[in-house]
């Protein structure tokens, strides 16, 4: 492999372009593999052997660096190294005698940020996508529309991504041709399905699946080296990914795969852990019952205890041609009939009634995980879908979108009609005010804010009254069940000046009670800053919010404040909020603010 600057070879390339361009055609790709914060591997196939060249740069049309491989081949594989983290690159592929495709807006990639960086991450998981049919095309196009303007960091093929037996030709049609646009700019990190097993073997690492993918076996992308491409791990931003082989590899405790899994999980410090493999630990899909199939049983019995003990957040699988999504689970390693209520840490829907919440930020033992079967990207098979661990089952074409932003993960099952048929969220850490004030809040006819600052923060005080506004009970949610409410005060610069959280009754600290058609909260210890709160839904004539807070939990900043100051009540599990904006204050002093 040789890297040169474009200036040094410009003349030679121009000559070569003139003489040979068009003689060779790209028949697969280009597609991206092995993403890291400093590298990316570009692969493509040509219909005749040539040497390989990738030219790249950070400006479209100005590709300043060439990387060459002199070996003539039709299977081109060029690793680009020494890249800058979190940077978008444009590229083209070809040979030293001429470029073939690229150097346009469609051919670009983004390097990962430095591992551990907190930034939004978007994943798309496709399962059992091996049929080429209009439904599959509709799923793909629905996602393309859904993700317009949003970079997809990774494509996660969950196995059985080319029917019937995962041959090279089948992969060409169902994967490389189907996802050509996406694969030019988004790396794919696949797992191995039972249909791939008809033509490839993870134990010998032979067959078309191993020929077409370049995967990390030596911890190149983060994680502990597995020594095989059959199962591996990698990091992206603040997420650690585990990819297991549920088909051929030894699934027994003490076997090499699960021994590696334990070492790998113990080493990670990422905020989020996502694991995926083909055979679902929980499913009642047609012909794929996790109470019957050995692989599903063994993965559940042997892999899940390790994963949950070391902090997994989300587990993705395919195999069953449907969508199933679990409750927030922990410790369910037996048959479906053995699911006990204590294993369901949150029986809510994970969305409208509040996100599933893990108290710890970062990997945490046995704080709950969501299990998703996303195997309906190209086929749907009727089934009972009556596994009791599941919150929802859908007989719809679609695939799973996963968004991670800071301490919140959102899963969206996007169907072939572009509808979000299921949404769930997992939030980490204590509920807290958003860093910036929300927009579009309901306003009040009348509202009063009092802030008192003391040299001893335990004696700080906060009072807020809001009334004569629209306070829909549906927007408030149910804090006696899942909904976390917070009062948040922002100064003129949008900085959070103080906050107070009243966690839902699902939290041990929650102290909510029903009160009329609304709710009241009372906690004399005020650990989250709130002493009392009363939320009375209604129309502008009857609605009312009254909050009293105290203590260091308020995190009250320095007074006086820069006006206007904004006070909001936010439903932290939904988007609803109620606010008052104060442009004037009766008092605005170092010890007390009264507005208006």
């Amino acid at each position: 492999m040789k890297t040169t600057t474009r200036l040094a070879t410009l003349l030679a390339v121009a000559t070569a372009l003139a003489s040979t361009a068009g003689a060779v055609t790209v028949t697969r790709g280009p597609y991206l593999q092995m993403p890291s914060d400093s590298s990316m591997t570009v692969r493509w196939r040509t219909d005749a052997p040539t040497d390989s060249r990738v030219s790249y740069g950070t400006t479209q049309g100005v590709l300043t660096t060439d990387v060459d491989d002199a070996t003539p081949t039709t299977e081109h594989e060029v690793p680009l190294t020494s890249l800058t983290d979190g940077t978008e690159y444009f590229y083209e592929v070809g040979s030293t005698t001429g470029a073939l495709v690229g150097n346009d807006a469609a051919h670009r990639f983004r390097t990962n940020p430095t591992p551990g960086t907190v930034q939004p991450v978007r994943l798309w998981a496709i399962g059992d996508s091996g049929f080429v049919n209009p439904d599959h095309v509709a799923v793909r196009d629905a996602y393309a529309a859904f993700s317009t303007g949003i970079h997809t960091d990774l494509l996660l093929p969950l196995g059985d991504n080319a029917y019937n037996v995962g041959t090279d030709a089948e992969y060409q049609a169902a994967f490389f041709d189907m996802y050509q646009d996406l694969l030019r700019r988004t790396p794919a990190m696949p797992t191995f399905g039972n249909h791939e097993a008809f033509s490839s073997n993870t134990l010998t690492e032979t067959g078309p699946w191993f020929d077409m993918f370049t995967l990390p076996r030596l911890g190149e992308l983060g994680g502990v080296m597995s020594g095989t491409e059959g199962y591996y791990s990698f990091d992206l931003a603040n997420v650690h990914f585990i990819v297991l082989d549920s088909h051929f590899s030894d699934r027994s405790p003490g076997g090499t795969m699960l021994t590696w899994l334990e070492d790998d999980l113990m080493a990670t410090t990422a905020d989020w852990i996502i694991a995926y493999w083909h055979h679902p630990p929980y499913s009642k899909g047609l012909l794929h019952d996790s109470d019957i199939e050995n692989r599903e049983i063994q993965m559940r019995e042997n892999a899940l205890p390790i994963l949950e003990d070391l902090g997994v957040d989300l587990v993705l699988s395919g195999h069953s041609h449907n969508y199933e999504r679990s409750n927030f689970l922990d410790g369910h390693y037996g048959f479906s009939t053995e699911l006990a209520p204590s294993m369901v840490l949150d029986s809510g829907d994970g969305d409208a009634d509040g996100a599933y919440r893990k108290a710890s930020v970062g990997p945490a033992a046995h704080e709950g995980a969501v299990y998703v079967v996303a195997g309906s990207t190209s086929d749907v098979r009727n089934s009972t879908l009556n596994h009791p661990a599941m919150e929802i089952g859908l007989l719809e074409f679609g695939a799973l979108v996963v968004d991670i932003d800071g301490n919140e993960l959102t899963g969206t099952f996007l169907n072939d009609l572009g509808q979000a048929s299921d949404v769930f969220r997992i939030a980490k850490g204590a509920p807290a005010c958003p860093a910036a004030a929300r927009s579009g809040c309901e306003t009040a006819g009348k509202a009063k804010l009092v802030l008192k600052k003391n040299t001893d923060p335990s004696r700080d005080r906060f009072v807020w009254k809001w009334k004569q506004g629209d306070l829909d009970p549906g927007d408030v949610g149910d804090p006696t069940d899942q909904t976390d409410l917070a009062v948040c005060v922002y100064d003129a610069g949008g900085t959070l000046l103080g906050s107070a959280v009243a966690p839902s009754a699902s939290d041990p600290a929650g102290a909510w009670r029903p009160k009329g058609i609304g709710f009241s909260y009372k906690d004399s210890a005020a650990p989250g800053g709130i002493l009392k709160m009363r939320v009375s839904p209604g129309d502008s004539a009857s609605s009312k919010i009254a909050v009293k807070g105290k203590g260091a939990g308020l995190g009250l900043g320095t007074l006086p404040v820069a006006l206007p100051v904004t006070a909001q009540l936010a439903n932290l599990d939904g988007g609803a909020c109620w606010e008052a904006v104060y442009s004037t204050a009766k008092r605005n002093e170092a010890t007390k603010v009264v507005a208006p």
Partner: protein, 292 residues
């Protein structure tokens, strides 16, 4: 949606045939693995459709034999092999597939005879030596098995840790611990210093009283990740066994400090068990307690 509540299932209408199939599948006598076999049945059905297009190609019949082998359909697999042979399939290819079918069927002697034939025709097909190694192992011919494992691991493009562990197990069964350690080293030469091979190599080095070698190996692992508490604990145990008690205690202390630095949520059962192990190592012995 189940007993614990949920939002239920949204579905398209189930046809009568599908309903009958569902009812059959829900039967308690439905065997484990039935779903996997159905996948295979689907694949075979598609394969048979392919026969119409490529029926005279012996390769498709060998593919079918392999599919039937995976379905444990020994008779069907052998019939497909015979069809391939009748169509002029290359004898070495036939012997390879037939050998695998025989091995999976539990006939290691017949399997080895076939694979011998295949390797005589194609000695360069080094992965076939894995099949022969497994056949020899089942026949109790451990030396022959080890030789084939060694050749396969040395020659394969991508041997995996599982191959190396199989090779090690054969040598351990033969009572050859030093050979087993060398097998793991061969594997690491080919694959890389993966923990799944280095950790058992450490166990073997200690069993052979090669403490310095064990220490070198755990240090090599720790060079990959100096903050791995479990590997640090193992290092401490090796040092302690070597009589380097002070260094051992220091290493245990480092590991324990790393565990204590973990947030509470990151201390699950495995971490707590390791913590207890470290604390037990750090607890003063009776002799130490008696020392004024």
């Amino acid at each position: 949606m189940g007993d614990l509540g949920g939002r239920g299932v949204r579905r398209r209408p189930v046809s009568v045939c599908a309903a009958l199939l569902l009812a059959a599948l829900a039967h308690p006598l439905m065997p484990r693995g039935a779903g996997a076999h159905q996948d295979l049945a689907d694949v075979l059905a598609a394969h048979e459709r392919e026969h119409a297009r490529r029926g005279s190609d012996p390769a498709i019949h060998l593919e079918e034999a392999n599919l039937r082998r995976q379905a444990r359909d020994v008779d069907g697999a052998l019939v497909a092999v015979e069809r391939a042979a009748a169509l002029g399939a290359e004898p070495g290819d036939i012997a390879i597939v037939r050998g695998q079918v025989f091995l999976d069927a539990g006939w290691p002697g017949a399997a080895r005879a076939e694979v011998d034939r295949a390797l005589r025709a194609h000695p360069e097909r080094v992965h076939v030596r894995l099949t022969r190694a497994r056949a020899a192992h089942r026949l109790g011919e451990l030396t022959a098995a080890a030789a084939d494992y060694r050749a396969a691991i040395a020659g394969m493009r991508s041997p995996t840790p599982d191959h190396v562990v199989e090779y090690r197990d054969v040598l351990l069964e033969a009572g050859d611990r030093a050979g087993a350690l060398a097998a793991l080293d061969l594997g690491m030469t080919r694959i890389g210093p993966v923990p799944t091979l280095q950790l058992p190599a450490i166990d073997l080095a200690l069993a052979l009283d090669r403490d310095a070698d064990a220490l070198r190996r755990i240090d090599a692992l720790l060079a990959q990740n100096p903050r791995n508490e479990r590997w640090l604990a193992r290092r401490g145990e090796i040092l302690e066994r070597s009589g380097r008690t002070d260094e051992a205690k220091h290493t245990y202390g480092v590991a324990l400090a790393l565990i204590e630095a973990r947030p509470a949520g990151r201390r699950g059962g495995r971490i707590r068990a390791l913590e207890q192990r470290l604390r037990a190592h750090l607890a003063p012995t009776t002799k130490e307690k008696d020392t004024p």
